[in-house]
Amino acid sequence: MKKTVHDTSADPARNNKTGDSVIDAAKPSRRAAIKTLAATTALAAAASTMPLFGRYGQVQSSEPIKIGFQVHRTGIGAAYGRWYDRTTKAAVKKINDEGGINGRPVEIVAEDDGTDPKRGAEVVEKMATQHGCDIAFGTLFSHVVIGSAPRAGELKIPYFVVSEGHHVASGMLNRYTLQPGITDVKSQVQAMAPFVNSTLGKKVTMIYPDFAFGHDHRDYFSAAVEAQGGEVVAKIAIPPTESSFTKYFPKIPRNTDVIYHVMVGPAVLTFVKEMGEFFGNSRPEIFGFIDSLEAVDLASPGLEFLEGTYFWEGNPRYAQANQSDYDKAYRAAVGVDANGASLSDSKDVATYAHMFGCWETLHIVKAGMEASGYAGAGDRAKLIEAVESMTSMPHSFAHPQGAKEFNGKTHQTFGHQYITKVTNGKLMLAHTTSIEDTYYPDEVDYTTQSF
């Protein structure tokens, strides 16, 4: 991957040419011209991305499809980035082993976004204008997605994100940004309310980070709980720069039936451990988002008190009794064992609840490119229309997390959510929500925007 990027840029002639064609494409008149060409022959369309050596016919159609992969290699998202990277590699290997997309091999051009919105936008620019990528794809942290999406829209490169943020369906972004592979946080959160209320208790105390991601949890969950007849008795926002948490726990009211916690960042394990130390052996019911312990070994010292508590998981980390063949095959392909850790290092725990989104998104890209007969950058709009027209995605090897319903208007997918209970130190499935539990009214219709 690294190598490929290097090769491309090491050849200045090739570089320049690719760059030139894209700057031309960005100017309306030229773009119109290119569109006309594209309409005339598929050959011309392909040539508009790869004008360099004037390749023809067969040779051209075997040019790889380039997918720019924005990845958190450094910064606070690095633990997620590593597993997004592994999942992406595995998905591309599978797709290529099965003959690629439209008979063309897929090539990943990966570059670090530093978990930073400025660098993220630069990386998307680079993929569109320098590497000549067909699409951009990536990343988890919302601020990187929101910082990058305007550039993707301006450069008219399809940007498939795997971020679980509500920013896509909220209408903030643009027609070129889609999230077809992972359910968003609004859906996740509201789907948890019925279970929390009916099984764990009516009076909920929420603990969440004091920034946008936490505020989404606060707002959507409070609303959903009240709709269920429950009550949020306290909302405890933790400042993002915090590294010790005990001092916040006394704010939990005594009449709390259940604690709802979600935390992100490197201090998550401290947070959960200190919560255990605070309660000693008299804890209320506890329900958490696995984000609080994503990529953290459940056998870490100090986590014993979690026995009997519940977690939301996007995709269950531990192989379940009813494990599907698809999940089995997906685990094997990515290199994850039955406990959700790397096959080569049992201490190296995957971000299993989120990373499936990369796998599924790449399969959706493949399906979209094949449905639209995608041949080159000139067909980008057709690709987006093809994805927008998708609806049901059945549970399959391409969708190992479960069936999904995609909403082409809001560019957002909806899927089953899982609630697991810590049983003998493992997360065992307690409840699976229906897809309908995740629905909310549309907030935007991207299909009305022009390309």
Binding site: I76, T246, K273, E277
Partner: protein, 308 residues
């Protein structure tokens, strides 16, 4: 929770923060005071201490106490060695120029972070505490039958947290003795007071600098080792403690050991207590502004005698 028990809890938490912070800030203060340079990579030495503690503890295995003691003995000297190497290779060659040192130590920060990321990885990893018992703390209340003791919900700490506080007290005393009662301390203080005169009196200023830089890094690493059973080792963990240490050093007054300790207590404990009364993020804003205003109206720090 009632106010009384809550304040005690806030105080205990604040003391743990203050303990680690005072070690780290003392390291920064020494470097700052003696060498007159701002070491932006100081937080990275804290991180290296924690990460080395994880390596050492995992390599030793057996009872958690064995690994932890090994880490406590090995990680700080190793970090000090690394810092002295950096001093010899870089800082010495740029003549400890204040501005160039900032850029050079920013470069050093990148290098240390990236090397840690490449070898240790992006995960936050825990080191098991040598001992860790939860201690409930009783509180008194006024009842009809007079004063009575009860055990408030959630009021407690752990034996390890208390040990961290004790360890910091012992270490700080040791440093104070080193500074005031030994020949090495004398050399250090002489260099701090007046570099040229010290040189004229045949004090090997270069070697003093290298050792002070090492000692400062070692203290930061020690803080890292002590904190790692409570928090986890992570390659970005040096950032926030660095900011806090800066504040402590300045509030405490440059190169003043008692001032540094008092400032660390002030910052650490107020950090624990202020969240009792305000919404947490607002509390951080207030605390931050308070530090700024202390410096605006008392630029020499609360305890410093000399203007900065």
């Amino acid at each position: 929770m009632e106010l009384g028990p809550y304040l005690i809890l806030g105080l205990l938490e604040g003391l743990v923060t203050a303990a680690v912070l005072s070690l780290m800030a003392l390291g920064l203060s020494l470097v700052f005071g003696v060498m007159r340079v701002v070491n932006v990579a100081h937080g990275e030495f804290f991180m290296v201490g924690a990460v080395l503690a994880w390596w050492i503890a995992s390599a030793v295995g057996g009872h958690p106490a064995l690994g932890f003691i090994a880490a406590l003995l090995l990680a700080p000297p190793l970090t000090a060695g690394l810092a002295m190497l950096a001093d010899q290779l870089v800082l010495k060659r740029i003549g400890y120029d204040p501005e160039r040192t900032i850029v050079a130590t920013i470069g050093l920060l990148y290098v240390i972070q990236q090397v840690t990321l490449m070898t240790y990885g992006p995960d936050a990893r825990p080191v098991e505490a040598p001992f860790n018992h939860r201690l409930s703390i009783p509180f008194v209340e006024w009842t009809e039958s007079g004063l009575a003791m009860y055990w408030p919900w959630g009021l407690g700490t752990t034996s390890y947290k208390l040990a961290v506080i004790a360890a910091a007290v012992i270490l700080l005393t040791a440093i104070w003795l080193l500074m005031t009662r030994t020949r090495y301390g004398l050399l250090m203080r002489a260099t701090q007071l007046d570099r040229e005169t010290a040189q004229a009196f045949a004090i090997p200023v270069g070697r003093v600098y290298a050792s002070v830089f090492g000692l400062g890094a070692g203290l930061a690493a020690l803080g890292g080792v002590l904190i790692v059973p409570i928090q986890q080792a992570h390659y970005l963990m040096g950032h926030d403690p660095l900011l806090l240490s800066f504040i402590v050093v300045i509030i405490g007054g440059l190169g003043s050991l008692p001032g540094t300790v008092v400032a660390a207590l002030l910052i650490g404990v107020s950090d624990g207590m202020i969240s009792v009364f305000f919404s947490p993020t607002l509390a951080k804003i207030i605390a931050t502004l308070a530090v700024a205003f202390v410096l605006i109206f008392r630029p020499q720090g609360l305890f410093g005698k000399r203007a900065l």
